[in-house]
Symmetry: C2
DNA sequence: CCCGTATATTACCCGCGGGTAATAAATAGT
DNA sequence: ACTATTTATTACCCGCGGGTAATATACGGG
């Protein structure tokens, strides 16, 4: 039934009939289309008409779900941020050396960066948001930065990481990871997991206390649990 | 202003030259103000009125020097690119191992990234440009990317760099460097040169064949080994 | 069946900002 | 001083696109 007859469009609004989808699903559909277009064309070059049209609806319909364009932008960002937060929480829940935590963060963050919502964390201009939302974003960014730095400091303290400037190292690592959001596209030959693992090794190779050439201990990166709910 | 070194009577071309020079200076003043505002407020939120106003002129006056807003954006980018090109040419002219060249590039590129025009290389959206200019930009970006990769490959070939995936390593390094353009601001306690040197060491620490503290061949990078404490 | 609510549409507003005359003021060349 | 050219100003156009009002259609409950 809900199997759309024509997969040409992922939109729940098939021209006329089945419009009885749950509200949240429609909201999500809007966000998925929006983030895709924002990334593809840029926020300012993407009109709400563009978004609506590709969903087989009209612009004002969007206002049933969002208060304005900037809120859509914010929600896209928020979904990506949520995934990073999940990652941070998982790490905080687990144990391990500073280096181990840092690597977990790199792997998780890198994988997020290969998704549309993840890209929105670094490709969107936060100055397009309202003052209120912008502050939330800035706070979140500081949180991520602090995580990187504190894991590095932790690693230095526990001996798993060589003494180094935590701030600069964090910038270097975060920069490499954020850049993924600019060059990665799903079609490539390197799958996200491979990229993430390679980066986890490479980016810590310079600061790890011991030689990093260990192949074991990592293959099963833990059950990567898929959260069913999208949001 | 420009004290004419000799009376105009001696050189009939002098007036012409001086006028052209004055024109170029004004053009540059426009670009300096534009790049500053574009970085500060973002391209789309910066109006030509903003630019003109801060220069004590009016919007249409800008059209004496530029054909439109997008051309101003392009010229800002071009200045930054020129500096990178200078850096690339210097490296190409000199010698050294692949690793040495890579480090030179890191130092040079990092320093460019701390300038306004350098930031424009990574903070501006090329999709705001005309098709023609966008193609030039893409070409230049590929050129830089090729430089990173080829130095790495060269380093692997001559033994100065450990075997690794040149493409991924280049992305990682370029990402760290490009990120500088997002976080650096002149007021900080770390001067650009220090950042550049630190990055040159850190970013190659993982892939350098031997311990990084070697002064073999040429010492293009000052032996600033001071690791650990940093400051 | 009727009504309330949620959802969608059509038609419109309007402000922002890039770009363009038409024209005035400055500067060089003779 | 007169003229041509460059450079600047004032005043305007107009299209794009975010946002709104009025309205139509569907759905669910009594």
């Amino acid at each position: 039934m809900d199997g759309s007859p024509s997969p040409a469009s992922q939109s729940p609004w098939m021209p006329f009939e089945s419009r009885r989808r749950a509200r949240d699903e429609k909201r999500e559909a809007v966000l998925r289309m929006a983030v895709q277009l924002f990334l593809e064309q840029g926020y300012h070059r993407t009109t709400l008409n563009d978004v609506a049209e590709r969903l087989n609806i009209t612009k004002p319909a969007l206002y049933n779900y969002f208060s304005g364009k900037d809120e859509i932008l914010y929600e896209c960002w928020a979904i990506g941020q949520e995934r990073v937060d999940d990652c941070l929480n998982e790490i905080a829940a687990g144990g391990g050396s500073g280096l181990a935590k840092l690597r977990k963060l790199i792997v998780g963050y890198a994988e997020v960066m290969t998704t549309d919502y993840g890209k929105s964390l670094v490709r969107f201009d936060m100055r397009d948001l309202t003052e209120h939302n912008r502050r939330i974003v800035q706070l979140a960014k500081r949180k991520i930065d602090r995580a990187f730095r504190s894991y590095i400091r932790e690693g230095i303290a526990d001996g798993s990481i060589k003494p180094c400037d935590a701030k600069l190292s964090a910038f270097a690592i975060a920069g490499s990871l954020n850049w993924i959001g600019h060059w990665f596209q799903p079609g490539g030959k390197l799958p996200p997991e491979t990229i993430a693992e390679e980066f986890a090794i490479h980016l810590t190779e310079g600061i790890a206390a011991k030689t990093t050439r260990k192949k074991a201990e990592k293959p099963p990166v833990k059950a990567k649990k898929m959260r069913g709910g999208t949001r």
